[in-house]
């Protein structure tokens, strides 16, 4: 526990020790603002809610979270510090958790900093703040799933660019697997239960009800399982890579 905390603190501090963190936060805030106000037409909709804000999160996360995740392990491999880390009396699981939680909290900070958008809708109208809170919570859980996938990919390489690109591709597959255009490709040849399984993996589908303020236990369990499985595989990747 204490060592997980030590890793957590180090990692979180290291995000803020370079200008990169601030650049990231600015890009995140600017693009979520742009999506919400221009694409989402939040004013034109004439409704006091943040649906047009949350609805773009899956697409925003697609590029921004792999950018946060890529350094998690690739950088340690590149610098050789993974040797230092793995010879401390810390289990691989503790290290994986510490790093994941730090990155998750970093993303949470960026997400919470979008609060001016929330202030705006409260100023203009009378939104259901419970729905908005649910949206934030759901969005963060989904962010965790993206992050866990990205961390998992990062464990396999020492090249951060490769880690980024592969993570975007993997997240894109999860994101779009519920879209008809993807499913149609599988319908031609795969049995129905496979198609259903692919559709069930879709981040979009699971996130859609969350944007409306409905936190369904099913969706939470889904994203939680993605996080759990991805981190488990992350641990396994590190252990396997150790042998080589």
């Amino acid at each position: 526990m204490r060592s997980t905390l030590a890793i957590f603190r180090r990692e979180l501090a290291s995000y803020f020790s370079t200008p990169l963190a601030y650049v990231f936060i600015v890009i995140f805030l600017a693009s979520s603002g742009a999506f919400t106000f221009y694409l989402g037409k939040i004013f034109e909709r004439g409704q006091a809610d943040l649906q047009s804000f949350f609805v773009y999160h899956p697409w925003l996360y697609l590029f921004l979270i792999p950018a946060v995740a890529m350094r998690l392990w690739a950088e340690e491999r590149k610098a050789g510090t993974i040797e230092l880390l793995m010879t401390l009396p810390i289990s691989t699981t503790e290290a994986v958790l510490g790093k994941f939680l730090a990155a998750w909290v970093f993303i949470a900070i960026a997400v919470v900093l979008t609060f001016p958008i929330w202030l705006t809708v409260n100023y203009l109208g009378d939104p259901d703040n419970g729905v908005i809170l649910a949206g934030y919570v759901g969005s963060l859980i989904m962010a965790g799933a993206y992050l866990a996938l990205g961390a998992c990919v990062s464990a396999l390489t020492k090249n951060q660019v490769i880690a980024f690109i592969v993570a975007v591709v993997v997240c894109f597959l999860f994101l779009t697997s519920g879209m008809e255009i993807v499913l149609a490709f599988f319908r031609n040849w795969a049995p129905a239960f496979v198609v259903d399984a692919i559709a069930a993996m879709s981040f979009l589908t699971h996130f859609s009800s969350i944007t409306k303020g409905v936190i369904d236990l099913k969706d939470v369990i889904f994203f939680g399982s993605v996080i759990g499985v991805a981190l488990y595989i992350n641990v396994a990747f590190i252990e396997i890579k150790k042998g080589a």
Partner: protein
């Protein structure tokens, strides 16, 4: 009681390459083992297996009764490790980095502050405590690496080329540090500097192409040298041939070699027949001959020559 570090049949294969091949030795408390070998002979790989970073392909490492493969954390708690090249988190400041290591090793509060403070003093890095590690000079980075390894006052120290990149004063200081700690710890250091053997090690292990080729004291290593106990005499060049012939007749001298000539003074080297001491007989003969010599001393042996001989034959 069993030795603190026990390697048995330790082997590591990378695909078709056997980097470490059946290495066995043990290190007791109070011993400083110098690990020697040419580049690529498997020193770093062996140390990585001892510290639990790499799993062995065969064989085992037992550290104070803990099998590293089965109980890595228990073993790692007892070990301080300076990896090759001293990798560090470059974006951190020295002080923050040491605090991180202390936290990761489970220290907290006053105990943590005390230990960090004492190690900072010991390796003299107080002046760079607030500097980002990336901006430190190579020698200071190495010292921070050492501080990290010594922080928890470990029973066992594994140091991969600890004096690499240090200036002569620092080398001297680090060697003293290692020698002092050697009394109550088990230490393994790898090095390419042969004098370091004499300076700090109580034992020498030589590895070539993954195999152990020597395990003994530095003294025994020197005795392997053809030059062990040979006597070098510096004399005016014009007298050298005559003196060489004289000394060649001394009982126990196998042959006499003429060495280099500098400023009209030639060094001649009398090599003993079977490593026995000939310095007394030779100096007596020199006295009888009545030649004025510029200098005379007995050699202990040439480690670089033994090193070449041991590792080239493989």
């Amino acid at each position: 009681m069993a030795a603190m570090i026990v390697l048995s049949g330790l082997t590591k294969r990378f695909g078709p390459l056997t980097a470490v091949d059946g290495v066995s030795f043990s290190v007791d408390r109070g011993e400083v083992l110098g690990f020697l070998g040419p580049n690529g002979s498997g020193k770093t790989t062996t140390m990585r297996m001892i510290t639990g970073y790499l799993p062995p392909s065969a064989g085992s490492v037992v550290v104070c009764g803990h099998d590293v493969a089965a109980e890595p954390l228990a073993a790692q708690r007892l070990i301080g490790y300076l990896p090759e090249g001293a990798p560090l988190y470059g974006d951190m400041r020295t002080g923050a980095f040491l605090n991180f290591i202390a936290g990761a090793r489970g220290m907290s509060g006053a105990d943590k502050a005390r230990r960090v403070g004492s190690i900072v003093e010991r390796v003299e890095i107080g002046s760079v405590l607030h500097q980002p590690i990336d901006t430190l000079s190579k020698g200071f980075k190495r010292r921070v690496g050492l501080a990290q390894a010594l922080l928890h006052d470990p029973e066992i120290l594994i140091l991969d080329e600890p004096t690499d990149g240090l200036d002569p004063n620092q080398k001297h200081q680090v060697r003293n540090l290692i020698r002092d700690m050697g009394h109550d710890k088990a230490i393994i250091i790898s090095t390419h500097i042969l004098e370091e053997m004499d300076a700090v090690c109580t034992r020498a292990a030589v590895i070539a192409k993954g195999r152990m080729v020597f395990d003994g004291t530095p003294n025994e290593l020197e005795q392997r040298s053809a030059f062990h106990n040979s006597v070098s005499i510096r004399v005016k060049s014009e007298l050298a041939p005559k003196l060489s012939a004289d000394i060649g007749n001394v009982a126990g001298v196998a042959r006499v070699e003429a060495g280099e000539t500098v400023d009209g003074v030639t060094t001649i080297l009398a090599i003993p027949a079977d490593g026995r001491s000939i310095v007394r007989d030779v100096s007596e003969r020199v006295g009888e001959s009545g030649f004025a010599v510029e200098g005379l001393h007995a050699e202990r042996g040439r480690l670089d020559e033994v090193f070449r001989q041991l590792t080239a034959s493989q």
